[in-house]
Amino acid sequence: MRYTILLQLTLPLLLIVLSSLPGHAHKVRIFAWEESGIINTEVKFSGGRPAKNAQISVTSIRDMKELLTGITDSNGMFSFPIPDTAKKNHYNLEISVNSGDGHKNSWLLNAADYLKITENTHQQQPAPSSPPSSPTSLQAAQQAPPEQQKSTLVVVDQEQLSQIIESALDKKLGPIKRSLAEQQEKKPSLQDIFGGIGYILGLAGIAAYFKSQKKR
């Protein structure tokens, strides 16, 4: 056969491709997540390398106003505190990146994703020394004999406790939010690859059909 050797040539290439599937081609990816009042943005090339010095711009979707811009650091990270106007107006934020070499992408951060937790951290600020004081106040609440004092202390404790849980959860959930955001990116699957090759073979069949009719 004329093309058997060519097939033999492309087969190893295909095998290399399939064995190196976790590596993806050139495209810039961006994802953003909120962590205790700060929005973290991470920009990567699709191979997993961080995109350094990429331009980030944050715009509100409602009135397409640019709220702030920035440049990623050597790890492809850019962090910024939630802008006050965005907090006030419950903006949905579009965080877009331009890596300067023709690659552009954006990430949508809904107001619901970053506002709920921030409001709680806002409340936390009046009582900054909550973690160390809470165990003693809990004990005090249990030991205190006058009923009036006890009830007021318990109310404060619940509030503090919820704040402690809130901040601890925030810390623990940060990496999970990040990896969830990372996983939303669709990666090329085996199905896509074989589907594409199938389309190409189909097109070749169509082309061969028309060319063969001409030949007759």
């Binding site: 590596g23 050139h26 495209k27 690659h103 690859i193 594409g196 070749a204 063969s212």
Partner: protein, 200 residues
Amino acid sequence: MHISEGVLSPSILIAGGAITCAGTAIGLKKLNYDKVMGVSLLTSTFFVASLIHVPLGPGSVHLVLGGLMGILLGWSCFPAILVALFLQTIFFQYGGLVVLGANTTIMALPAVICFYLFRTWFKENGRKRQVAAFSCGFLSIFLSSLLMALALSFTDKGFLQASQLIIAAHLPLMFIEGIITMFTVSFLAKVQPEFLQIKE
């Protein structure tokens, strides 16, 4: 190598689309019955080559194989690259449908230029063909980078800055593609010389 959607200005998009249309028309006209399967095989190769990732340089690059397409297919690399890029856009979300014409021009035009530059060298056996194959792989990526910088210079930063950035990012790829093209061509010359159209 794939420019994303919303980066280029409309005039560049139209120019790229026009060149792609013309190139594809010529390519389809030159395509004859015997070449159809060869073209489709190389289209598949191009389609999956972008998944081979080269973790070198400041960014990250993937194989393009423009030079190999150019030598083996001539003008027919236009329809081949167009189809492969279209499928990559749909399946892998590389580039975009609106920038398809510009992206095809960026990758296929240098391939055709390389085909005409090195065509005569291919007919001679030995070292000259190897040098020509390496140059084809090398030069096609270099010219593609230049075209890409040119396209970006009308919209983004200046040409000099864009070209520096893009050529620096693709420099390792130029050597890798050169070597891959050289080995593929010398292998084909040994086992399947008629595929290189060097029988005459």
